[in-house]
């Protein structure tokens, strides 16, 4: 299934606090698009709008699956998951008192994913052998890096066509960040995913990015057509590298 996502002119936020202003992005089939920006600029808010956790005040979010278009605005998170979009939330949000394997099983909650559960479980255990070793351990008792593995693996268990990843690097040691980013690329290639990743860690994110956006105060400040353009952008130097 070829899925792509188009966000057109959305305004959104929390109650009367508007975070996103007339924001538009596109994620084409098979791409890895990164959303760069430091804390509080609206990356997570945008992902929450796509997943249906927040309803935007204006605009549309078009999911295109093999030419069939659906507006996701107003859909519940359950409906968005059912449509094939899976999110790895910021801060991992595991079920700490359940085992690793129970967390993964819950990832396959949607009807479509249940049919492929054993195949997907084998797949994520192959990508993250550590999780197989620890599958009966409580998720809350694992290290940060392992928890992030569970979160990403759980996102894959719903057998998505589009994977949203919100700040996979938060709270991880630098070598683990690079490992995690590499795993996301591996998953993307093996599962033919379309990936939208929000990140603050610019250096790591551009390693797997095909394209990207820089988001500042809820608006797209810069659209980069390639990873090179991101890397050589003045604004990035200013925001991230302090040059």
């Amino acid at each position: 299934m070829a899925s792509s996502l188009t966000v057109n002119n959305i305004d959104g936020g929390y109650g009367s606090v508007r975070v996103l202003h007339d924001l538009s992005i596109t994620v084409d089939f098979g791409e890895t698009v990164v959303l760069l920006g430091s804390n509080g600029n609206g990356k997570s808010t945008l992902l929450k709008c796509i997943t249906g956790l927040i309803k935007p005040d204006r605009g549309e979010i078009i999911l295109n699956v093999d030419g069939e278009k659906t507006d996701l605005v107003g859909k519940t998170p359950e409906e968005v998951v059912t449509a094939g979009i899976s999110m790895v939330p910021e801060g991992r949000r595991l079920f700490p008192a359940l085992t690793v394997e129970e967390n993964l099983y819950l990832g396959a909650y949607r009807k479509f994913a249940r049919k492929k559960i054993s195949e997907n479980l084998d797949f994520v255990y192959e990508i993250f052998p550590r999780l197989k070793e620890r599958r009966n351990q409580l998720a809350g008792s694992m290290s940060g890096g392992e928890q992030q593995m569970v979160a990403v693996a759980r996102g894959i268990m719903s057998d998505p066509t589009i994977l949203l990843v919100d700040e996979p690097s938060v709270g991880l040691a630098p070598n683990l960040v690079s490992h995690m980013i590499g795993k996301i690329r591996e998953l993307k290639e093996k599962k033919n995913l379309t990936v939208l990743m929000a990140e603050q860690n610019f250096n790591q994110a551009i390693k797997i990015a095909d394209r990207g956006y820089i988001i500042v105060h809820g608006e797209i400040e810069f659209t980069a057509a390639s990873a090179d353009e991101l890397a050589n952008n003045e604004m990035i130097k200013q925001y991230y590298l302090g040059v």
């Binding site: 997943t51 998951v81 999110m87 949000r93 819950l106 396959a108 949607r110 809350g140």
Partner: protein, 297 residues
């Protein structure tokens, strides 16, 4: 002395099985959904009176009756949770108002039963009530006489089977696992494609359905009057906490423990001390092992 002891332990195990049936629903609702449903024993009493009514008028076995009425209790649970959700949980006032809500429901149930049936004790007829299984007939125990009254044995077996069923349901089905997860992170559960409100509603339905069975077991064990449910509130909460808040197997073993402790105390110290067993064990356990005896973390 030893004969007395063995009989007390056996009786305690059987009694504990019944306690597990009462605690089962609360283990789901209080242990897993974090909802303090103190009206749970009152639903057990409804189950008893329903079994009584059908038994009196149609002569049907109380336990069979309770299984026939499971869908009704399931719906009752769903309605009760809906109301709780719309009025309290959605607006974030569940902690205090919710407690008052369940208190209110408990009193309303009691008063309704009193209005319909009065305050007299009611009991049921079943072929197994009044007989005992003598272990001596099966195993030669020498001088010891050990008996299992069927009015205790049948409830124990039913409780064990129902507990096992709920345990399997929660650990092996998607909805069951969602019930285990819902209070840990409801947003994450939404991101898995589950609706937390529907999950909780379903869990409440199951919990109240188990109360129907527990009620039938109660009236098989001894006669019931409308306010007898209150005796179980503290004991059952103690069992759920001892069992490790929401661990089904833990709840079952904690219930057996309390059952054994109570019969031992009433045999050797005096029946009036028996209700103290649950709280005594709870106090000591919480001091030493705050997560409960069978808690996971």
């Amino acid at each position: 002395m030893i004969e007395l002891f063995i009989n007390a332990v056996v009786a305690g195990v059987l009694l504990g099985g019944f306690y597990a049936a009462v605690a089962l629903g609360l283990s789901i609702v209080f242990g897993r959904l974090d909802i303090v449903n103190i009206a749970h024993p009152a639903f057990v009493i409804i189950g008893s009176y329903m079994a009584f009514y059908v038994n009196e008028n149609f002569g049907l076995d109380p336990i069979v009756t309770s299984f026939l009425f499971l869908p009704v209790f399931f719906l009752l649970g769903i309605v009760m949770y809906r109301f709780y959700y719309v009025c309290f949980e959605r607006t974030g006032q569940e902690s205090l108002s919710g407690l008052a809500y369940f208190f209110g429901i408990m009193f309303i149930i009691e008063v309704l039963i009193i209005l319909v049936y009065g305050v007299d004790y009611r009991n049921v007829q079943a072929p197994y009530i009044g007989h005992s299984l003598w272990i001596n007939d099966w195993i030669p125990l020498g001088d010891f006489r050990v008996s299992l009254p069927y009015r205790m044995l049948v409830p124990f077996v039913v409780a064990a089977v129902v507990t096992g069923g709920v345990y399997l349901y929660l650990s092996k089905t998607y909805l069951g696992r969602a019930i285990l997860a819902v209070s840990q992170d409801r947003v994450a559960l939404q991101l898995m494609g589950a609706n937390p409100i529907k999950v909780k509603q379903w869990a409440f339905g199951i919990a109240i359905a188990t109360a129907a069975i527990a009620g039938a077991l109660l009236i098989v064990i001894h006669p019931v009057e409308p306010s007898v449910g209150r005796l179980y509130i503290g004991r059952v909460f103690a069992i759920v906490i001892l069992g490790g808040m929401g661990s089904i197997s833990g709840t079952f073993f904690a219930a057996l423990m309390i059952g054994i402790a109570e019969t031992l105390i009433s045999t050797f110290i005096g029946p009036s001390w028996a209700p103290a067993a649950a709280y005594g064990i709870l106090l000591v356990t919480l001091a030493v092992r705050p997560q409960g005896l069978f808690g996971r973390a």
